[in-house]
Symmetry: C2
Subunit: 204 residues, 2 copies
């Protein structure tokens, strides 16, 4: 990189990393207090900057929520693309998908929680768009289960219901995260696979 | 009942049913807005009485939360007593327990939701007491799973983790309840039993 580019890049990098800090702190506050109850003033105070300078990095509280929700959606969609494109049986794909969801909940807890629980505060056109993406994601997830049913690998169940059971069991991880759980993240993941994936599997 | 008792009983009955109405409306508001964001004034307005007359029936917002949480706890504890005392295999007991939890979520949605999500707003001594009851309930639930593991009917899993997976899958029913789900309550229940109970079962 030449000096000119380096000079140009530095402030942009700084801005990006400050923005990342803002998003991280905001996700944590939205998770704890809820989006509606968190003010830009609270957020600035937590970060330790002036409210006015917060607006140098981000236009509004809603823009923060958009960044969090669509960032999470991007990761989830990209992973599902990979799963769908990969070879493997429906059961093994579901296991990979379940492990991914648990990993996201453990490693990106605040953002995933906010994208899952607070997205209804998005404004249009983001609200409808995000809602549709959620439905599409669940449909594709159910599609893998239905493929397993057709291949006689998964028992005759209502696939959309199975998706909700799995997703809700995973979103319950929040309480492990907060409590001084005696099981490690790995044990938790393995137990969930044992129960949920094996619960789908058709035996005998 | 003689006339004197009838005369005495009527106002008490009326008071009880007014109190039930208050509890029902409060549970619905606590569920929707959260306990902290609901005021006694809001509640009185929703019921259509004067705030002052609300206090003839109930002393405080916290007393309402106590009535909701401990009412739910009583039903859950009584059911678990019955299950423990009954004959039957651990797997069949778990199936009964799961169906009970789903039924409670479907039939008493608002109260169960509030007891599950808003109980942290209880004040002492109720807070610690309720917290302990929750832990005890989960321990007894896990005890049934552990019995199944000892009897070689349930696979080697971490029983407390299995309890959390089941309870969180059930508490996700809130979103079915709200969405225009295409599955009936009975189908939902049967699918959950198929996946979760069979997921616990040891095969072969």
């Amino acid at each position: 990189m030449n000096i000119y580019l380096w000079y140009m890049a530095t402030p942009r990098r700084q801005r990006a990393s400050k923005k990342e800090l803002i998003l991280r702190k905001a996700a944590s506050m939205f998770r704890e207090k809820g989006f509606a109850a968190t003010s830009m003033r609270d957020l600035a105070e937590t970060i330790g900057i002036e409210a006015a300078s917060l607006y140098n990095h981000i236009r509004s509280k809603n823009e923060i929520l958009e960044a969090i929700c669509f960032g999470v959606a991007n990761r989830f969609n990209a992973h599902l693309d990979t799963i769908e494109a990969a070879s493997g049986t429906p059961i093994s794909k579901l296991e990979t998908l379940l492990r991914f969801h648990i990993g996201q909940m453990v490693d990106h807890y605040e953002e995933v929680f906010v994208a899952d629980r607070e997205w209804k505060h998005l404004e249009e056109p983001y609200l409808s768009n995000f809602h549709t993406q959620r439905r599409t994601y669940r449909k594709r997830f159910a599609g893998i289960i239905e493929e397993g049913i057709r291949h006689n690998q998964i028992k005759q169940i209502d696939a959309p219901t199975a998706v909700l059971i799995i997703l809700h069991a995973v979103s319950g991880i929040e309480s492990w995260h907060r409590s001084s759980a005696k099981v490690s993240a790995q044990q938790l993941e393995d137990n969930m696979v044992l129960i949920l994936i094996d619960g789908l599997r058709k035996h005998g």
